[in-house]
Symmetry: C2
Subunit: 233 residues, 2 copies
């Protein structure tokens, strides 16, 4: 899915990043570049590059004569896709999943409203196709195929809105949807009403009915939120 092993510094990040975001090093902890370089058996230059990346994510701060100190959680760049992936892979996955689902419930309805205004004919067609694909795979344990169409659907909503900030959340939503299907529960087929809602959103967008698209999408995201409430109370 992502970009693994793009050089030595990348491999260092693959273990150091998750460790930090998992809270293994409590905020305020000091790391020494030289020590880390020894631990990971890489040169100082490589370790320095890794630290620079962590610094740009605001996970750590590097100060002379002190070392590399871990920053408190509330300063992290929590929108960095890399950080999101690390946290989703770690211990506070449930907490992170909830935060992101709440975020979805704020963004997607507004995005759908804009999409109803701005979507091209082609995007409308794709959207409808995705919704139909969801219907077609909503019964008979074809969850993988269902998921693919579900992700595509929401990605189109976000990109067709014409707002770049919304569009960039496509990957995040994909991650959340995939996480729900694979990790957590959802053994059974998806709820029929939820599937129908997607079809109706596609209709509303095609009709250019902004308010309805927004309201229907809100129902979808609220449903996702309630589903999460049931699973993780």
């Amino acid at each position: 899915m992502s970009t693994p092993g793009r050089g030595l510094h990348g491999r260092v990040l693959d273990t150091l990043g998750p460790a930090i975001t998992a809270g293994e090093y409590p905020p305020g902890s000091v790391l020494r570049t030289d020590e880390l370089a020894q631990q990971f058996d890489v040169s100082r230059s490589v370790m320095r590059e890794a630290v620079r990346v962590l610094e740009s994510m605001h996970l750590v701060a590097s100060r002379r004569r002190v070392g590399v100190t871990v920053r408190p959680k509330h300063e992290w760049n929590v929108y960095d896709p890399q950080v999101i992936r690390w946290r989703l892979a770690g211990a506070d996955r449930p907490h992170q999943l909830r935060s992101l689902t709440v975020l979805r419930s704020a963004i997607e309805p507004v995005a759908a409203g804009l999409t109803a205004r701005n979507a091209t004919a082609e995007q409308c067609a794709e959207l409808t196709e995705c919704a139909l694909g969801m219907v077609a795979n909503s019964r008979g344990h074809k969850l993988d195929q269902y998921l693919i169409h579900d992700i595509a659907f929401h990605r189109i909503i976000l990109t067709a809105s014409g707002n770049e900030m919304f569009a960039r959340l496509g990957d995040v939503v994909a991650e959340v949807l995939a996480g729900r299907t694979h990790h957590d529960v959802m053994f059974a087929d998806p709820d029929p009403p939820a599937v129908t809602l997607h079809v109706r959103v596609a209709e509303a967008v095609r009709a250019g009915d902004s308010a309805r698209a927004e309201e229907l999408t809100r129902e979808i995201t609220v449903g996702a939120l309630q589903e999460l409430d049931i699973l993780v109370p």
Copy 2:
């Protein structure tokens, strides 16, 4: 406001980052690390660290035997505060300001709704204080003092919501509000109705009226959006 000149690589980023986000190097352009190092008169190691940071922001991709290629805009980490600052300082500032204001209009109402549920007594007090501070400075060209309270108000809404993703947008909103006051227009005192809305939001939060807090905040952000429509049609 930010963290200027944290080392040589930081100074390189201060000019290379804005240049890239401004579109000076069109997507697909190739940069050579060694050439850049010469241009900026720094060592290769320093330039490599700078490139690593740009890479982690998805502004560029570094590939062997090819060079450092500039990525298309739609792949950038547009939520990175640094990237946002660079773009706000550049040519497409109006476009960026609009994107962020639309984002606000999606996030803040939902955040306010959650804040009405979750805010502590202390946070309620602070919120009221901010609203009153806005009222007190809403007349007589005391825009700077008004802005300070305005920023604090919205920051509390976002953090008191209890959602970390919302909380992290505090800086972004601050940047947008500051930008509106300083750069663009707003010579006159702020609109009295807008000021009143803030007071009423504080009241709703204090009363724990989630739906009302959400709706009133929506009015605020929609107003901000319309104001932008008038200025930049």
